[in-house]
Structures are given as structure tokens and as C-alpha cells.
């Protein structure tokens, strides 16, 4: 059952081949059997899952089932889930039982999906390797000595190993696309504002966006349809109709203009990754697309800009973690300052502390103009690069990450080297555009991801472009051995 895509499971449930309870039990058993090696889940909500599955079966019996009813899903532990620990993989929130559901979680519940549990991640989504989790690193199912990418590493690894047919992720600088690439699955970061951020614990508010992670683009289309849409609780959520993404799949790619930014194929790109991406582009040409060489001249500024904007916002967003109303509080604080400093000092891991400090520094008096304001201006330039590019092309393609999965511990002590893992994904967040990663081959046995970048709110096209490729290839069907 677990080798089926979400769309196939949906059809199987509809045809009565199996029930949601059977499906849920199957995946729960797989989690029990395999997750000891992967560490992709922080919390497994077995009882709730089975209760939700029974409810889904009842819904189906009453002919009130939708396409997602009864299908299991795992949520990144950054989404608040009422009555369930929502830790953000931090000691700080280890004691935090969320008292409400994130909008995304509520929408999937409404659609009848069954929550299997909460997936591991980099602490507060800060990382590209899933090594900063308080609950220990996640392993890549393709090679247990390698990282799954991050920050949605638990979601990516669990989908890749088919411990769940689908998972939610969040993407602030590549946190859906990069782990999707490294684990060989399909992931979509929607346009900023397409999906509500309410109940998603904020890392960098102007960059964060939730999206689906699954085996195929078709699965992502089904999931995005349920996630997306206006939410009155999020001021930055777009008041815009949600197209039927699944129905929009289809239609050939003849005449599709694909932009290849020269900056995405230069120095630092692993040659096997480059070869896989080029083969994928050749496949697109066969499907009738034309390729246009473009330039995104400010690409090299994306990482520096991001490491001002994101830390600045996170330094402020994480100030509420103060040991007063929820979460971790240090033992016997001797005064208020001690309460703050030790609760935060002990509750946050070192990467989180580093970023908070960089952010506090960049916003502090005397440095604001040189760092934060400057970064906002360069952000504008980076965004304009894309605006210009989309005058010439319909979709931009390139590698998702400069290399396939790297080894655990390889970059752990060198933050700057780690940050460069997101060199191709970060600009998309700065501009607020939708981006996807689609499996397109292997480098030394490890998956490689093709990145697709679309224009604002052009997810329907993006999904179909990915879908057409997946109809012609089978990279997304490959499964890691041993699971």
C-alpha cells in the first residue's frame, strides 16, 4: 500500500480497496518498524490517528468523503496542533502542548486527512541538514550516514521512506525544496501569501510559507488545494481564489518557455547534479518546451541578504519564548533577568542563539541602515531580477541544491558552509515566488532535485510542468532500499 502515491491511495479508498483504518494502521506499523533508524518523527499520535481514520471511514460510508478523506499525513512540528506537543524541535517548546490548531492543520482535518504525528526538523526551522533538532538528527533513507536536508528533514525523510504518503513542510530559505531534493521527493513552496501562516510558528515572517511534500506533483496539487486560501487570521494571506490545481494538471508543454539562469550553473555546482539537471532540461525540450538563457544578476547577494533579513525577523519572533507563559523555564530563577537569560540560553540550541544574535545585532542602533535597511533594498533588486526574467519566460529551472545529500556532521560546525546549501533556493523566498523541487536523477546513488520557479500565484502551471515531467520519467517512483 505504501508504494502507492497519494492520488492512487485516494482512488483506492474511493474504490473500497481498503479502508482508512487499514491504511492508517499500515503506515503506523511502518513508522514503528523503520523510524528508529530515521528519527523522522518527534511525536506519533497513534490513537488520534486511528480515531480520525474511523471518522474518515464513517464519512466515506455517508458519502461525504473528499479526495483526501482518510489519507494519512504527517505535520512538521512547527504547526500548532491542539492538544499535541508542538516543539519546533526545540527544548524551549518541548513542554508546549499547543492549545489550538494551525489553519493548515485545521484545513487538512476538515478535508478528512488523518494525522499520523509530528515530524522532526531543524530547531525552529533554522538549518539545512536537520542536525540542529533537540530530538537528534534525522537520517536520509537513501544513506543513513547522510543528512536529509532541512529544515523540513523529518517530513522529507518520512515521505521518501513512505512512512507517510504526505507531509507538510515550511520553507523560509529552501526548507521544503532542499530536503525534498536530498530525499528524492516532490515538494512545493507556494507563493508567499498563498497559504495561511496562522499557527505556524514563525521563523522569518516575511519569508515563511507552508507547502506540501509528497511523492508526486499530482499529490502536491491535491494537497495544495486543501491548504491554500484566504485566512482572516493572517494579514499577509492573499484574498484570492484557489484554483482547482488537480483539475489543472494536463495540457502539453509545447511552447513553454523555460529560463535557465546562468548564475545557477556556475562555480560550486556539483558536476553530477549539473548533469542530472541538464538531462531533465533535455527531457523538457522533448516535451516541446523551449529553453531561454537568462540572467538573475543579483543571485550572489541572496545568501548575504537572507542572513540579515531572516535573523533580524527571527530575533524578534523568538522573543516571546521567555519562560513566562508557556514552554521551558529554567530552574529557580533568581530574578527576572536570570529567568529570561537562562530559560532562553538553556532552551535554545547554538544555531538558534547564533541567528538571534546576528539579528539583534543587525537591528541594533547604529547598524540598522548598514544591515537591515540595506538588505531590504537588495531584496528589492533580487525580486526585480525575477520580474525581468518572467517577462521572457514562463518558468525558471535549475538545480535545487548545489550537491546531493552531504554526510552528517560534515558542515555542522561551519555555519557559513551550511548556509551555502541554500544558495539556489533563498532568492525565491526573498522574492516571495512559488518554487518546487522534483526528483530528476541521482548523484552517487543519492537523489538530485530539479528546481522549478514560477511567477506569483502561478502554482497551477508549475504543478503541471512538474506533472508532465513525471509522466515522462520515473525518478519520483524510485524508493530507497531497506524500507
Amino acid at each position: 500500500m505504501h508504494t502507492k502515491t497519494l492520488a492512487e491511495l485516494s482512488a483506492g479508498l474511493a474504490a473500497g480497496e481498503f479502508t482508512s483504518v487499514e491504511l492508517t494502521e499500515h503506515f503506523l506499523a511502518r513508522i514503528r518498524q523503520h523510524d528508529g533508524r530515521l528519527n523522522s518523527f518527534i511525536t506519533v499520535t497513534e490513537e488520534q490517528a486511528l480515531a480520525q481514520a474511523r471518522e474518515a471511514d464513517a464519512r466515506r460510508a455517508a458519502a461525504q468523503a473528499g479526495p483526501l478523506t482518510g489519507i494519512p499525513i504527517a505535520h512538521k512540528d512547527i504547526f500548532c496542533t491542539d492538544g499535541v506537543r508542538t516543539s519546533c524541535a526545540s527544548k524551549m517548546l518541548d513542554p508546549f502542548i499547543a492549545p489550538y490548531d494551525a489553519t493548515v492543520v485545521a484545513r487538512f482535518l476538515q478535508a478528512g486527512m488523518v494525522m499520523l504525528g509530528k515530524t522532526n526538523m531543524d530547531e525552529f526551522a533554522m538549518g539545512s541538514s536537520n542536525e540542529t533538532s533537540f530530538y537528534g538528527p534525522v537520517k536520509n533513507p537513501w544513506d543513513l550516514a547522510c543528512v536529509p536536508g532541512g529544515s523540513s528533514g523529518g517530513s522529507a525523510a518520512s515521505v521518501a521512506a513512505r512512512l507517510t504518503p504526505a507531509a507538510t513542510g515550511t520553507d523560509t530559505g529552501g526548507s521544503i525544496r532542499q530536503p525534498a531534493a536530498l530525499c528524492g521527493i516532490t515538494g512545493l513552496k507556494p507563493t508567499y501569501g498563498r497559504v495561511s501562516r496562522y499557527g505556524m510558528i514563525a521563523f522569518a515572517s516575511s519569508l515563511d510559507q507552508a507547502g506540501p511534500m509528497a511523492a508526486t506533483a499530482e499529490d502536491c496539487a491535491l494537497l495544495l488545494g486543501a491548504m491554500a486560501g484566504f485566512d482572516e487570521r493572517d494579514s499577509t494571506c492573499a484574498e484570492r481564489e484557489v484554483p482547482d490545481y488537480h483539475a489543472a494538471l494536463g495540457g502539453d508543454l509545447k511552447g513553454l518557455r523555460i529560463g535557465l539562469p546562468r548564475e545557477y550553473f556556475g562555480e560550486g555546482l556539483d558536476s553530477q547534479v549539473a548533469a542530472a539537471v541538464e538531462t531533465a532540461i533535455a527531457e523538457y525540450k522533448k516535451l516541446g518546451a523551449e529553453v531561454v538563457a537568462i540572467s538573475l544578476p543579483n543571485t550572489h547577494l541572496a545568501v548575504p541578504t537572507y542572513y540579515v533579513v531572516a535573523p533580524a525577523e527571527c530575533s524578534s519572533n523568538l522573543s516571546r519564548m521567555d519562560g513566562v507563559r508557556f514552554g521551558y523555564r529554567c530552574e529557580n530563577p533568581k530574578d527576572l533577568e536570570d529567568l529570561y537569560k537562562r530559560s532562553r540560553g538553556e532552551g535554545f540550541g547554538s544555531e538558534v542563539k547564533r541567528r538571534i544574535m546576528v539579528g539583534a545585532y543587525a537591528l541594533s542602533s547604529g547598524y540598522y541602515d548598514a544591515y537591515y535597511l540595506k538588505a531590504q533594498k537588495i531584496r528589492q533588486l533580487i525580486s526585480q531580477d525575477f520580474t525581468e526574467a518572467f517577462k521572457q519566460v514562463d518558468v525558471i529551472m535549475g538545480p535545487t541544491a548545489p550537491s546531493a545529500a552531504f554526510r552528517l556532521g560534515e558542515k555542522k560546525d561551519d555555519p557559513v558552509a551550511m548556509y551555502l546549501a541554500d544558495i539556489y533556493t533563498i532568492a525565491v523566498n526573498l522574492a516571495g515566488l512559488p518554487g518546487m523541487s522534483v526528483p530528476c536523477g541521482f548523484a552517487d546513488g543519492l537523489p538530485v532535485g530539479l528546481q522549478l520557479i514560477g511567477n506569483y500565484f502561478d502554482e497551477a502551471r508549475l504543478l503541471n510542468v512538474a506533472h508532465q515531467y513525471q509522466l515522462a520519467t520515473d525518478w519520483h517512483r524510485r524508493l530507497p532500499e531497506g524500507f
Binding site: 504547526f79 500548532c80 508542538t86 519546533c88 517548546l93 508546549f96 499547543a98 492549545p99 489550538y100 494551525a102 501562516r197 496562522y198 499557527g199 505556524m200 510558528i201 514563525a202 522569518a204 515572517s205 516575511s206 482572516e232 487570521r233 493572517d234 494579514s235 499577509t236 533580524a312 525577523e313 530575533s315 524578534s316 523568538l318 522573543s319 516571546r320 519564548m321 521567555d322 513566562v324 507563559r325 508557556f326 514552554g327 527576572l336 529570561y340 539583534a360 537591528l363 541594533s364 542602533s365 540598522y368 537591515y372
Partner: protein, 483 residues
Amino acid sequence: MMEWETVIGCEIHTQLATKSKIFSGAATAYGAEPNTQACAVDLGLPGVLPVLNKEAVRMALMFGLAVNAEIGKRSVFARKNYFYPDLPKGYQISQFELPIVGKGELSIELEDGQTKVVGITRAHLEEDAGKSLHEDFHGMTGIDLNRAGTPLLEIVSDPDMRSGKEASAYMRKIHALVTYLGICDGNLQEGSFRCDVNVSVRPKGQAEFGTRAEIKNLNSFRFVEKAVEYEVARQIAIIESGGKVIQETRLFDADKGETRSMRSKEEANDYRYFPDPDLLPVIVEDALIEQLRQGLPELPDAKKARFIEAFGLPAYDAAFLTGSRAMADYFEQVVESANCEAKMAANWVMGELSAALNRAELGIEQSPIGASQLAGLIARIADNTISGKIAKEVFEAMWSGEGDADQVIEKKGLKQITDSGAIEAIVDEVLANNAQQVENYRNAEPDKRGKMIGFFVGQIMKASQGKANPGQVNQLLKSKLDN
């Protein structure tokens, strides 16, 4: 001996009279049980997001229009970052670079009857903090976040005031304005209207300002005056003895009538302001400004002018009666329902009623005698049912809740005697009993008679228990004595 000039600028925090909070749907009502009006957003729980209250924006704009200010057609919310337990998110959402209300002005009346124009630097929207309760919880402080998120309009003046009296006149005028506009309940005791004053002194004639001290949270007009007086004396004493005033925040101790240094909330005061990424720019359309302008109520200056013009009241009376909207409304209702001379209504409101309210420390809103009741009393004077003197007795009875004017008059038999036969009988009786005085009167020079007639009037009023109509008494006496 050096002559000193005082320079004062005010920052007034007015709680806007919205039903719900500025960024959440929690109630703003005063006096609820601790933390029962603090929702997830007010508590700054992980994942929550702010959505701006429309009414708070409208109210801020109304204030801007009332002080002829430039309206910020594009205003931006910023985060002011500091750690304090009554500030749940670790930052206050406020406006920094682009406030909703820009430069404006307001005229205040000085004691000598002159008016003075005070510049309004800006007014911006922000959220209030919670409250720290210092009663003993085993040496701990208790935090109540009911007030957190209550909308505030912070009104900042130019440093235009030159004395404590001017500062309190300014504060009164702003108070009148916001209550006229109905955007603030003006309740000083409950903290709906709080004033911070920046005080400095400089040698008369010097252009640059001296070092200022900020005196926080003054919640009475009188305290503003006292605090400024104390602070000015303190600063002059420091400078004259060769010391230097240090820039700091001070608290006013109302019991001792002095200011004292307060430990600063964040010593460095590095608030790391930056635009709040959870909120978007607030765009104010011209149509809304026009609509609000049309809907503005009559403001204090205009009302005062009308009271002088339409009611023929002296300027002093008009200023007094327009001091607050409640007072002005009360007065106008009295005039209308009593159908009497405006001056007579003014005398009653400013005299007997205000004195009684002051004695009882009540605002006019809490007056035990409503406007229509007072009008009922005045109407009985106007129609000669009772004399002015009896009216005071009736007023006392009404104040103690013995009913309205007619009931009191009836119950106590205070109705004026206007039956000329009855009055003539009393007059005859008094004249008969005082034959010697009658003789003296008739022998007196005509110009002395005016004084002498008072004796007879007094005797007649005494005999009638004050109920004889004084006009008729006078007329009858004259005709009987002079013939």
C-alpha cells in the same frame, strides 16, 4: 539671579474606545478577572498573528482631522523590541517612521484668557501592555494580560508648553477633544488617559533645550501641574548648585508630591525598531478621510463659539460648559427641556450642580440629578412656582433622591403663593403689626425708602415661609405704603 525658562512636551496615551483589541478579537472591557480577556494573540502564543481593528484606524484618523493634522495615507506598524513580563511577545507593535497622524496643532486657553497654539508632532497607533501586580505571591510578581493589546493612540506634542499650568491645560484640552470625538472614555482612574511629560529648563533666551527628564504615567491634570512644578525646581536646584541634570525616566509620587528616578526598562534603550512583517502598510483612501470629516461631531472650540453666539453666554461660562462633551451635552439638554433663559441654566449647572458634584467627587456623567430633572426644577422657577431661594432647598432634596422637582415641591408644600388675595392678607397683617415702621417709612425721603421697604419684604417672606411671590409682594407693598 538667573532667569529660567521651562520647556515641556507631552506624550499622551489614550485608550481607544473600541470593543475589541487592536490586533485580536478579545474584549477590552475594564475590570475583568485576570487573563480572562487575553486570547492566544494577546498572550503572544507561538504561531499567532495580528489583524488590525478597523475602528482603531477610524478613531486615530478622527483625531488627526480634529487637530488639522497631516494624515498618514500610508502608515506602517513597527516592532519595538524589549523584554518585560507585561509585554508578551517581547516587542510592542507600534508605529515608528510612518505614523497614521502627522503634524497638527491645537489651541489651549491660558489663565489670562489668552489662547496659545501647541504643535502636535504626531499621533500613532500602538498596543497597550499588560499589568504587573506586585502583591505578594511568595515574592513573585503576577502578570495580568487583559490590558495587553488594548488600542492606544499616543499623541506627541511639540515642546511648546512653558509651565505646569500650560501642560495641564493642554492635557485637559486633549482630554476634551478625545471625549468629544467619542474615541476615548477619558477615564483617568482606570488609566484610559495617561500622560508622560518631558520637562527641561534652560536659561531664558537660550535657544537650545536643556537635558530633559521624562515623568511617566501621570493620570490626573493636577498631578501634571504638581509634577512639573516639582521637577522644574529640582532641575534648577541641580544646575544652580553646579550639577548636571541627567536624562532619565522619573515617576511622580502623588502622596509626597515629588518625582523620583525609575530604573529604566531596558537600560540601553535599544529598541531595535523594524517594520512588523506580520502586518502590511495601512493605506487610507481619501474617500474614508472625507467620510470621517463629514461625520466629525462639533468640537470644543466650535461649541464654545456657538454657546457665546447662540445663547449669549459670557466667554467664561461658555468655556466652562464646553470643558467636556458630557458637560456641554448636559447643559444643552437642560436649556432645551426647561425652555428657560440659557444664562439661568448656565448658572445652575456651573453653580449649584457643579459644587455638589465636586463635593461628592462625581463627574457630570454620574450626577444623581439628570439634565431633564434639573430642567424640571429650573422650569418651576421660570414659571414662578417657586422662588430661586426655595429652589435651592428643592435641589438638595432632589440630590438626596427625594424625587423630581414637582414631587418635592408638592410633598414639602413649597409652592409659591401667587393668589393676590392671600398675599394681600399677609401684607395687611404685617403692615398692621408694624405701624411704627410704616409711619417711619412714610416720613422718610423718597430716596431712603428703597432700603426701608426691604424690612417689610423680609417680614412678609418670613410670614409666608418664603413662599410668597416676591414680585407680587413688592408691588402690593409699594401701592399700600406709597398711597
